[in-house]
């Protein structure tokens, strides 16, 4: 979903690490007016445009699409350690094209037309650790400091890698990412196994994000089971649980008026999966734009559409000097779903170059308050 683009774009639109010096610290920057969150609503002349007439083709589409401005490989996971304590993590690789294809510089040493950014986050109870990395590359030189190769699938930046063995492409993965030294060290080494098919969100995998037709190519692998080791404060621990991998690319996701979004990926205990989001602005008559996709354990769509759900913030928490809605009510009346979604802890702020909130949530049946699932929530554009 529209999540993360944010930051990427930010690269160009506002010079996020801009500059003056902090690349790891996380600069707070506000998007230029009228370009949507993080510049994702900026006009994208000269780039390829996402539309429903371009079908998804595998395995090629697992790889990068440098003619489109933005793209990401986005993994979230709801895990438990040996003691049964819940633990959430994310790993994301973002790609952004610095210029339209026809303006690319010659592929001389160090010349670049793509910028890569990766985020890693681990959360447990009140602990939330995040790290960020950047790299440049040229699309004509795929073996760079960061990149993605479709077959056998490999996505990397420095020594952070998400890759598949050659005989099991995009079915089995290993993920490795660590940051820091000694007591400060955190990261993970995980194996991921797909237990179901890829799911496409929308016609031919094209997911509209506004009533005007802006949108992205978007598919997911929501049926991952995960096992491995997570290190927190230098201490490794065994974990296992569920994961959700998103793939999305586009050149202009948002309209300039859309300022942010709230995005949910939920693993319901009955085996169904639900992806839902609210884009603030960009709907009919300037209202919000909502979308949901509910599918069963075989990947068959049960409900999909823009007007089938309601999303209501119930309460907020003060996080990073902002009011962030950390408790939500989601209803999908035709599927008899009425759930309350709550962050396990408000402290899930990503103090990255483009900051946002991302963390693990519990899903409860609203009338009974019985736990019916877990998932991930991402919220952007709260100032």
């Amino acid at each position: 979903m529209n999540r993360h683009w944010l930051r990427i774009l930010a690269l160009s639109a506002m010079g996020f690490m801009s500059l003056s010096g902090c690349s790891e610290g996380g600069t707070e920057s506000s998007p230029p007016a009228q370009e949507g969150f993080a510049g994702l609503g900026a006009q994208a002349e000269g780039f390829a445009h996402a539309d429903a007439s371009t079908p998804l083709i595998f395995p090629d589409d697992h790889g990068p699409h440098p003619d489109y401005r933005i793209e990401w490989w986005y993994l979230t996971a709801n895990l438990e350690d040996e003691t049964g304590e819940p633990l959430g993590l994310q790993w994301t690789l973002f790609r952004q094209a610095l210029m339209p294809p026809q303006e690319r510089p010659a592929p001389t040493p160090w010349a670049s037309d793509q910028v890569w950014m990766a985020h890693m986050g681990i959360s447990q109870q009140d602990t939330h650790l995040a790290a960020e990395r950047f790299a440049r590359s040229h699309s004509a030189q795929p073996e760079g400091q960061a990149g993605v190769i479709a077959v056998p699938f490999q996505a990397w930046i420095d020594d952070w890698t998400l890759q598949s063995p050659s005989d099991d492409n995009f079915e089995r993965f290993t993920l490795t990412a660590y940051s820091g030294e000694g007591d400060e060290r955190f990261g993970y080494e995980l194996t991921l196994q797909a237990e179901g098919p890829l799911v496409w969100h929308g016609e031919n995998g094209f997911n509209a994000k506004t009533v005007e037709g802006q949108g992205s190519h978007y598919y997911s692998q929501p049926f991952l089971t995960i096992a491995g080791s997570v290190t927190l404060h230098g201490e490794p621990r065994e974990v296992q649980g569920k994961g959700w991998l998103d793939r999305e690319w586009s050149s202009q996701l948002l309209t300039p008026e859309q300022t942010g979004w709230d995005w949910f990926s939920l693993h319901l205990h009955d085996g169904r999966k639900l992806m839902a989001y609210r884009l603030r602005g960009g709907g009919e008559n300037g209202g919000d734009y909502l979308f949901a996709h509910l599918f069963d354990a075989e990947g068959n769509t049960q409900q999909i559409g823009t007007d089938i759900l309601t999303l209501t913030p119930l309460s907020s928490a003060r996080v990073a000097e902002r009011d962030i809605p950390t408790r939500w009510q989601l209803t999908l009346p035709n599927a008899e779903i009425d759930v309350t979604i709550e962050a396990r802890h408000p402290n899930r702020w990503m103090p990255t170059s483009v900051p946002y909130w991302e963390g693990d949530v519990i899903v409860r049946n609203t009338p009974t308050q019985e736990e019916t699932g877990v998932g991930y929530l991402e919220m952007t554009g709260y100032e």
């Binding site: 690490m17 801009s18 003056s20 690349s23 790299a135």
Partner: protein, 826 residues
């Protein structure tokens, strides 16, 4: 009322403009020298801050162990292995006589991204950007207004559009690494940097040079600026002597006016306030004059300071002044503060003025004698302070205590300054007895005693200036001789070849096969960790840290001349031992770590920790780092080191030009890669001369100030003097004798002062070469005195005094006898 009082007081200067001039000159020179040095210091500090802010200043650096240059593949391999290295592409070019450094950076991986600018996008995408400081623009012939977006052409290549950034060091251009690579290609050198201490161990096949190895420019240059400040403070003090003399004289002459004013009903507070206001008016005027000329002076001196600092510490200082607000405030405050201090005596007397006391011209006698006694007591206290400081200094480890040493010099000067007037008085007193039978001489001595209260201040100023002058010029002269001799000894080969380390090894092999080559003297460089030293006696010494290694070949050609300061056994056996488990250390290291020949140091070798015996200590002037000397073989085999250069000695009948040509063709070397001994010496001497030109300039100026002080004092009381000479005239003393008399009086007094300044100057020289130099630079110099300098100093003193006496004499010569007698009546 206070206005009228003030006008009345100031009217005095209308009648005595010379006093006003002297007062302002005193303030002016004091403030000018002080503010110029402060301007230089402030500008240099800003340059250091800018250099520090630049990433390359504080990063660890990786190099390949095999000596091959780093490539983009090294970068990708290391990043993919998870090492947080960032690429830095460095190139340089000369344009319009200015040498520029180009740094190509990758803002995505730089530890503390120095990449700035409006947007990152413009920086990293074509046509890219060239970031530079505004003070770099003149070299491109651009003004600030037209700079942004301009694309100057350099050697046929067009630079990316310019963007100004105030925080960059001068003559440094920053651009994206892709842009730098496109512009300079093969000429650019790639280095890989990491944040300090980001890596515990270098990765296999690489070695690491720690940022800590390079002290920050600010630390290194601290001592240099302390030297400058000390000289400036001296000028300030000497200038204030003039001010005090002028104020005292004006006060003396206005006593009657002041009493009249008090008798007319002006309260003492109003009178004091009026004098205070008068001081402030003069202070602001003098400080402004001083600031203006101080800035002018600083502008003149700065290029020399910049080259001094760059040659001593390899740090760039911008060549145009850049001054923070507190500089202006500080300069004016110092001048005003000094003025108030100098004028405090005047204020005190005005406040306690006895209305009924009559003007007594000779009341000074008892008063002055009391003053002399007080001076002697204060001088005794200062002497005790001097002793105390000397004791303290002797207990400090060698190489530290820079501030204590300067305080010691100041205390010594103060002692002598306080004791000089009583001493002069004593000498005159004795002379008076000696000349009992020669009436005219006795009168002359008595007259000197009368003048002494006023003159003694000028003499003190002269004493301080002379002693310092002698000290500083002996130090510089001694350093110059030592340095040149050392250079001669160190440069044993006639020809030196500089090339990348990977070329040097085959080059050396090739040289050995050449008939025309008599011998090659390769050198190597490296660094290692010093794990332990035996001197645990002083806990303040850090026994660990990184030291640089220098490898030489112990050939007789080199060892016969290589200077050594101290050896364990004789020099020959020390050189013999160098091949094995012995090393030589430089003087800087010996002092900083309190090592002597025979001590054992533990070094981190490739084979693990190992002990080495210090066989000798060698002088290493101009090197800011501690260094260990080994043979080239030992360095390259046991430590991380690589060849640095090769010295070549040719056979007597070999054709050097022919040899150069063959060598250049064979290894594709540029002509700059070959340097002959004469060139090296010339460059080194040039650097040296520029290094001390600033010291010389300030030194000369200080002496000038002292001469002014003396001149001003004599001019101010010339009028009064004529009155006293008129009496002699009337008694029948010929005019020719009357003219010669003051010349003898003053010349004699100045000579006496200069003779006292002589031992003081030698003491200061010793403190400079043996204590302050060691603390500031890490090397000690032999104490050398230059008779010519001493004679010059004596002649200067007498010359200044005679010049000062001559002007009133000329006046006297021209005055008609009648007028002279009339003076006596008034």
């Amino acid at each position: 009322m206070i206005g009228r009082v003030l006008i009345t007081l100031l009217s005095h200067y209308k009648r005595h403009p010379a006093q006003l001039l002297m007062l302002l000159v005193g303030l002016w020179v004091a403030s000018a020298l002080w503010s110029s040095v402060q301007a230089i210091n402030a500008t240099a500090k800003e340059s250091y801050a800018r250099a520090n802010a630049l990433f390359s200043a504080e990063t660890d650096q990786l190099d390949r162990r095999d000596g091959n240059p780093l490539t983009i593949d090294d970068y990708l391999t290391l990043r993919r292995a998870g090492l947080p290295v960032s690429p830095l592409l460095e190139a340089s070019f000369t344009h319009n006589g200015t040498r520029f450094t180009v740094l190509g950076i990758d803002p995505f991986t730089l530890p503390s991204s120095g990449a700035g600018g409006e947007t990152l996008n413009d920086f990293i995408t074509p046509p890219w950007q060239t970031q530079l400081a505004p003070d770099t623009l003149p070299a491109f012939g651009l003004s600030r207004e037209e700079a942004t977006g301009a694309t100057p052409t350099v050697g046929g290549q067009t630079l990316p559009p310019l963007t100004l950034r105030n925080d960059l060091p001068p003559d440094t251009l920053i651009m994206d690494i892709a842009a730098a690579s496109n512009l300079f290609g093969e000429q650019a050198t790639l280095s890989l940097v990491t944040a300090p201490a980001a890596l515990d161990q270098p990765p296999d096949g690489y070695r690491i040079t720690r940022a800590a190895n390079l002290a920050s420019p600010e630390q290194l240059t601290d001592s240099f600026h302390l030297n400058l400040t000390a000289l400036a403070l001296l000028s300030l003090v000497v200038g204030l002597f003039i001010v005090q003399a002028a104020l005292g004289l004006a006060m003396e002459q206005r006593l009657a006016t002041l009493r009249t004013l008090r008798a007319l009903g002006v309260p003492a507070t109003t009178l004091t306030l009026a004098i205070l206001m008068e001081l402030l008016v003069f202070g602001v005027l003098g400080a402004s004059l001083g600031l203006i000329s101080g800035l002018w002076l600083a502008g003149k001196l700065l290029p020399d300071v910049a080259s001094t600092i760059s040659s001593l510490y390899r740090t760039d200082v911008q060549q145009s002044l850049s001054l923070p607000w507190h500089y202006w405030l500080g300069s004016v405050a110092i001048t005003l503060g000094g003025l108030l201090l100098a004028g405090s005596g005047t204020l005190w007397r005005a406040a306690r003025l006895n209305v009924l006391a009559l003007g007594q011209s000779f009341a000074w006698r008892s008063g002055y004698q009391r003053q002399l006694t007080r001076m002697l007591k204060a001088g005794g206290l200062a002497a005790l302070l001097t002793l105390g400081l000397a004791l303290w200094l002797s207990r400090l480890p060698a190489g530290s205590g820079l501030v204590v040493s300067f305080s010691l010099v100041a205390a010594l000067l103060l002692t002598c300054a306080l004791c000089l007037p009583p001493l002069l008085y004593g000498v005159l007193h004795t002379l008076q007895k000696v000349f009992r039978r020669f009436a005219l001489m006795q009168w002359a001595v008595a007259d000197m005693q009368l003048q002494l209260p006023r003159l003694s201040l000028a003499m003190v100023a002269l004493l301080i200036a002379l002693a310092t002058n002698l000290g500083v010029s002996s130090m510089v002269g001694g350093f110059r001789l030592t340095f040149l001799e050392w250079l001669d000894q160190r440069l044993s080969a006639p020809l030196y070849i500089n090339a990348v380390p990977s070329t040097l090894a085959p080059l050396n092999e090739w040289l050995l096969t050449q008939e025309s080559v008599l011998e090659t003297l390769p050198t190597a460089r490296g660094s290692t960790d010093l794990l332990a030293t035996p001197s645990s006696t002083n806990t303040e010494l850090t026994s660990q840290g990184t030291v640089t290694l220098f490898g030489v070949s112990a050939s007789p050609l080199l060892t016969a001349n290589w200077p050594l300061l101290d050896t364990h056994g004789d020099a020959a056996s020390a050189w013999q031992a160098l091949g094995g488990d012995s090393v030589f250390i430089n003087e800087q290291m010996a002092i900083a770590r309190a090592l002597i020949p025979g001590d054992i140091v533990t070094l981190d070798t490739r084979q693990g920790a190992d002990n080495f015996k210090v066989a000798a200590i060698y002088p290493d002037y101009g090197n800011p780092q501690q260094q260990i000397l080994l043979t080239v073989e030992a360095l390259t085999q046991r430590f991380d080191g690589e060849l640095a250069s090769i010295g070549v000695a040719l056979n007597e009948n070999a054709d050097e030009r022919q040899f150069r040509q063959t060598l250049m063709n064979e290894f594709n070397l540029s002509s700059e890669a070959l340097v002959n001994q004469q060139e090296v010496k010339q460059i080194a001497t040039q650097i040296f001369e520029r290094t001390f030109s600033i010291t010389r300039a300030l030194n000369g100026l200080t002496l000038g100030v002292a001469a002014l002080a003396l001149l001003a004092t004599l001019l101010a009381q010339a009028h009064q003097r004529q009155r006293q000479l008129a009496a002699l005239w009337a008694l029948g003393v010929p005019r020719a004798t009357l003219v010669k008399l003051p010349l003898i009086q003053l010349g004699g007094l100045a000579l006496l002062t200069a003779l006292i300044a002589l031992p003081l100057g030698i003491a200061i020289t010793w403190l400079l070469v043996a204590v302050i130099n060691v603390a500031a630079f890490g090397w000690r110099l032999p104490l050398q005195l230059f008779p010519l300098d001493i004679v010059t100093m004596l002649l200067t003193a007498i010359g200044v005094a005679l010049l000062a006496a001559a002007l009133p004499c000329v006046q006297l010569w021209r005055t008609s006898p009648r007028a002279l007698l009339n003076e006596g009546d008034t």
